[in-house]
Symmetry: D2
């Protein structure tokens, strides 16, 4: 069984009123915004990614999510993050979302390719980011 | 000068990656989702509002926001909430959003009219909610 | 009574599944994203605003909406746009949202201040944009 | 090469200002909201799904997207939809998103399990919906 212990990094995700859709649960689309926010926060705060003026950006080339149990605002969510594969210019992030009872409610992944903005071509992951991603490889 | 001290209730708002728009700041629309989430969290957790099966719902009839300084993900935001006017079936919430330096970045309000779902007509604010809103009247 | 005829420009707005919130109507926040999209589309397609590389950006300093009748996905919405005030570096857009029956469901406004990105100070509205906004002044 | 001709149903998707993120392209999360809206529009308008009072709801249990070329507001997008697998109570929707030049920019899928709201258990796909989904099976 997958638990938070399967993920080296944990972050709390605050839910919002309009995360819920007409069926009363967090809309399936919104899970990906949790993924996006958890990962970029780590890249920015730990890895030094400069999203405003940096020369390198991470583009998402693939994402997936499996939904196991519903979540709903206003309950808090805990996200677990690990790195499934760390390549030269790409990385696969794997995430789990857990409810307050510690149950796995969704799991997914997305793949970033790091790209040089000026040339619009793949570029090696910057060292500051790579060193922090290495810590999350499982 | 307006500070957090002008608001009896404070809540931390977590920003998200896609709160930022192409200009690199929190999009003007997103501020209203902060307002919505702060108020409903209070109504649900303190006032006992049941958004799934309750007979009474709060409909927004008017909202406004003035934007003073930009906010940007991933910085955290602190919201202040007070009640500007508490009527029989309607309430005016007034909110301020503050950055980490304690500066007021936006202020706004919205008005809820409480409505009976079955009859679709205004109804007195339920007592459990009213008593909690009274605490925020300034 | 306000009708579409009160607005010189009309645009169709396509609603989305998750525009609806748990109460089954378009969430109050989403109306502002309609406003934003209608106006910027006009500025880009008619006025030549370059949101990717332009030196001038429009920052929203104030917005408001009054909600008269609910809207709900999947119904289409028609937006009406007029310019309430055209200043040297700022403009007040006034919008109405109409349902398929032609009824006014919401009306609001927002104010753009045009700013030079490099200096971060207000700048006169570019001529290409101003000439197109002039057409919408009522 | 995948073209729109690979999908029996086509729908235009209107992009919005804040679909673009800080990097100037439609955010990866937003693609899923296009998927959601295209499919539910078909279920509601063609299949008679009642999202407000119906006894049956479609829950998303898995979704995926591959991003091939960026999209950006205000360009229009054309979505193609087909049914990859039609089970007793579940269906796999496959979607492609095309730009104005007819190029495939993203492709993905999601799986709906139809559930009886009262019992919260899987239920056969209602006949009105099934007959319309059958038309999209490839």
């Amino acid at each position: 069984m997958t638990t938070l212990a399967n993920y080296p990094l944990h972050q709390t995700v605050q839910t919002r009123w309009h995360d819920n859709d007409i069926y009363g649960h967090v809309n399936n689309v919104v899970y990906y915004s949790y993924f996006d926010s958890v990962v970029n926060r780590y890249l920015i705060e730990e890895g030094g990614l400069d999203i405003h003026n940096g020369e390198v950006v991470g583009f998402v080339v693939e994402s997936q999510c499996k939904y196991l149990k519903p979540l709903a605002y206003p309950e808090p969510v805990t996200a677990g993050l690990r790195v499934g594969k760390l390549g030269n210019s790409s990385v696969r992030y794997e995430l789990g979302l857990f409810n307050a009872a510690g149950e796995l409610c969704a799991e997914g992944y997305f793949i970033h390719v790091f790209v040089n903005k000026a040339s619009n071509t793949p570029t090696p992951i910057p060292e500051g980011i790579r060193s922090k991603l290495t810590l999350l490889v499982v």
